[in-house]
Subunit: 153 residues, 2 copies
DNA sequence: GATAAACCCTACAATCACTGTAGGTTCAAG
DNA sequence: CTTGAACCTACAGTGATTGTAGGGTTTATC
């Protein structure tokens, strides 16, 4: 069962993450090692590697560790309805959609700023002016505030 | 000069942010109050309000407080070349562009997941499968990791 | 001029998802 | 059996806020 057991460093390298992150996931209840050596070092089996794969993928999708724990729990009791999983993903897609919209507005603004600046002195630089003047924005992205968004690093 | 002096609460409300955030900006060297009352309470003049406007706008654009401090300093010595400001904005646009690309890939994936799920039980739910299986991704967004991105809340 | 409510003060802890560090232990190769 | 790389725990730091504790100040009303 624990045939090709990986050390924490090997698993981390294969996943492109730091060992600390793995220990962090363990502390968060996302990923436990399959076992430990006599000396206390973590060993990860193929199942753990797969679980990590899921976790990393979900993180890239912007899911929080909390949400991932939800998803993993849901997947564990495999007789439950798919609707809960669906709802989480659907909510996530909404967030992604909104973030894209916002970023595209910002990109447009930044482009406009750059096109108006032509390498003069700061006094006549439109960029700083544009940043200071909300009114000139192409889109009035008013300060909405009920909306958190997990970083998509 | 300090005619229409605002309290921290009034300024915060007018900007749609919390008073703690203003105190945080002060600690970070971004925004000092124009003065204090005899009792030690902060008072902000019109100039401070404008500076805050700039700060909030730049934050919405994804600039870090560090970058904003740079921009403000640059704007202060108004005889310097515009190129430094330009470079900061250009770098920022690159980051925004990359984030949009990633998010659009993610959106596509999430859509695909949802279309494959049709409200069954978790055992036959494609969503969890898709999240676990990187290989089935439309785009192989490999684990690039040299890239930070400030949250765009 | 007293009182009370609303506001403000400092200082510090918590959040999230990690990353870094200190000081010590274990493993695998030679 | 020694060496050095990798591992261990425990804890502090990151960035941009937000929350809390325990007080002081301002303002309006009586």
């Amino acid at each position: 069962m624990a045939d090709a057991a990986l050390s924490i460093g090997q698993l981390a390298q294969s996943a492109g993450i730091h060992v600390q992150t793995l220990r962090y996931y363990e502390a968060q209840g996302l990923l436990a090692p399959s076992g430990r050596t006599a000396g206390g070092q973590r060993r990860y089996g193929a199942q753990a590697a797969q679980r990590l794969h899921f976790i990393r993928h979900a993180r890239e999708f912007g899911f929080s560790t909390e949400q991932i724990r939800e998803l993993l729990d849901l997947a564990g009791e495999s007789s439950r309805s798919c609707e809960e999983v669906d709802a989480i993903v659907r909510r996530q897609r909404e967030l992604v959609r909104r973030r894209i919209d916002l970023l595209q507005q910002l990109e447009g603004e930044l482009d406009r700023m750059l096109s108006e600046c032509s390498g003069g002195r700061v006094t006549e630089c439109r960029v700083l002016e544009a940043l200071g003047d909300h009114g000139r924005c192409a889109s009035a992205h008013g300060h909405a505030q009920a909306d958190d968004d997990p970083p998509a690093r």
